[in-house]
């Protein structure tokens, strides 16, 4: 698994709960290092171990933790560049949803060895969508729930989300856009330098 993915989990633990929680995770997951490197590749078995350890340390079910990670990814101060990159995907929420099909390719354009789970958007009538996630990590759909919930807020859209596991490695997030202009979303300025 790419270091960027592992670093996201590490960032969530440290930024939300502090270094102490992360050190407990390191100990329980039995990592032989303290910090992930963003640009290194790690054994695929490490990531689920870290997620289980985190769920154990926080004493919360792993699906909940994963949804929180998704929320963190697009709403925390330190992950602002990621929110911006996702906002580039669409001018409105529905446009953004449709851009998720390309997310895997877009990510690979920026970081060639970053392979994100494949996602497919289905449309089932006005405001009714489903996002099919094919991920090797169980609960990836939960992460997307958190991402989508926060991005809906970001666009000022009221959306109801639901998660179900259709098969191993096939999770489906259903999205019901209730009100497209529910609130004033966060502004997105194309030219703001976050670097």
């Amino acid at each position: 698994m790419h270091g960027l993915v592992n670093c996201a989990i590490q960032g969530f633990a440290k930024d939300t709960y502090g270094d102490g929680v992360w050190l407990d995770v390191v100990r329980i997951a039995d990592l032989d290092f303290v910090e992930f490197e963003t640009m290194w590749m790690y054994d695929d078995a490490i990531t689920p171990r870290v997620l289980d350890a985190l769920s154990q340390v926080l004493d919360r079910p792993r699906p909940d933790v994963m949804e929180d990670i998704g929320t963190y990814l697009v709403s925390h101060r330190t992950t602002e560049p990621l929110r911006r990159l996702l906002r580039f995907g669409g001018v409105d929420f529905v446009d953004f949803l449709q851009s998720l099909d390309d997310l895997t390719d877009r990510a690979r354009m920026a970081v060639p060895d970053l392979i994100l789970p494949k996602m497919e958007l289905g449309e089932h009538g006005p405001g009714e969508f489903s996002l099919e996630c094919h991920a090797s990590i169980a609960g990836f759909g939960r992460v997307m729930m958190g991402v989508l919930r926060s991005m809906a807020d970001d666009y000022g859209v009221l959306a109801v989300l639901d998660h179900n596991t259709a098969a191993p490695m096939k999770e489906i997030v259903s999205i019901h856009v209730v009100e497209a202009e529910f609130a004033e979303g966060r502004t997105f300025d194309l030219g703001v330098k976050t670097a």
């Binding site: 490197e37 640009m39 990159l85 030219g191 670097a195």
Partner: protein, 339 residues
């Protein structure tokens, strides 16, 4: 006329950074995004030359020159104070009418900030948004990479400080030798230190080059490893200075045997790319006896004194330190001088 209106609507949708000019340079229409830019700059689109300057090709002056560049790439500057650079192309539309289409090109990052441009200011097929995306994504990726590089550079320095190996020969370095001697002294174990020097090494370096010199040093290292036991420690102190530490070996005959084999092997010429390198080894040794404890520095000094005695006595030989060596130097040097 209706046709032209339809056509400008098409152009506005596909090329929002275009303008329509006549052969005198009067502007007849401006695309919506270019309109926004001009408004921000406080410019009125009356005449082409009041809005844009052609920077390249430099020969272009006035409309006839511009029209002569039909279909070719133009480098233009928009605005007066701190102008923004754009690329453009002119194509004829109908008699006396021309379209100039513009692109933000390399100024895109500045321009979107300066003119508060949004996704809707670019046609859906335009690559500008993708380019901005790539710039931000690559910047973030590069930052992560350079952070890693900084950390690795720091780790490399730290590792070098801790390193105990001489990179050229693979032998131990001075740090490793000091640690080994510390250990032997803390256990109060007997051992022998042998100082070895390559004679005529500088001559090899000077006449046959550094590659030949390096080869000689590596040959010396190979011989030292082959002629010693696994527990012995072969050290390159730097340059052509070597040291052997022989734990639990204090018998003068055995030590002299080790030294003699090394000296003999290095006395043979060393071939290097068809040429022969001639060197010799001088050695001096001193033993540490736990019953008469000396500091490790003192033992090393004795080994060095013995080494110099070997050199003065005509090189390619081994001398074991003995108490009368301190008086010997004069006699020995006289002997060398009379040879």
């Amino acid at each position: 006329m209706n046709d032209l209106e339809d056509f400008t609507a098409v152009l506005d949708a596909l090329c929002p950074l275009h303008l329509m000019v006549d052969e005198l340079g009067a502007i007849h229409h401006v695309g919506p995004t270019l309109c926004k830019i001009l408004k921000t700059e406080g410019m009125v689109p009356g005449n082409f030359w009041g809005v844009l300057k052609v920077q390249r090709p430099r020969s272009v002056v006035g409309m006839p020159g511009l029209i002569a560049q039909t279909g070719k790439r133009l480098h233009l500057a928009l605005g007066c104070a701190n102008p923004i650079e754009m690329k453009g192309v002119l194509v004829p539309l109908s008699a006396g009418q021309f379209i100039v289409n513009l692109s933000l090109s390399m100024s895109v990052v500045d321009a979107v900030q300066r003119y508060a441009l949004t996704s809707t200011d670019f046609p859906p097929t335009d690559l500008t948004i993708d380019m901005l995306y790539m710039i931000e994504a690559k910047t973030a990726a590069l930052q992560a990479s350079s952070k890693l590089n900084h950390r690795l550079a720091g780790a490399k320095v730290a590792a070098e400080e801790k390193a105990q190996t001489d990179t050229l020969t693979g032998l131990k370095n001075r740090r490793a030798m000091d640690l080994a001697l510390d250990r032997l002294h803390s256990w109060n174990s007997p051992y022998t230190v042998m100082s070895l020097d390559l004679d005529f090494f500088k001559a090899v370096n000077d006449t046959l080059g550094h590659a030949a010199g390096d080869h000689v040093l590596q040959t010396m290292a190979k011989v030292l490893l082959e002629e010693t036991r696994d527990d012995d420690i072969a050290v390159r102190l730097g340059g052509d200075e070597f040291t052997l530490i022989l734990p639990h070996m204090t018998d003068p005959k055995t030590v002299d045997g080790v030294a003699s084999r090394i000296i003999a092997r290095l006395s043979a010429p060393i071939p290097f790319h068809g040429q022969m390198c001639h060197v010799a080894v001088s050695a001096g040794s001193a033993a540490f006896d736990p019953k008469r404890p000396l500091s490790r520095e003192a033992v090393q000094e004795q080994a060095d004194a013995a080494l110099y005695a070997s050199k003065r006595a005509g090189r390619a030989r081994h001398t074991a330190f003995s108490g009368d060596l301190h008086e010997a130097p004069l006699a020995a040097s006289t002997e060398t001088a009379t040879r």
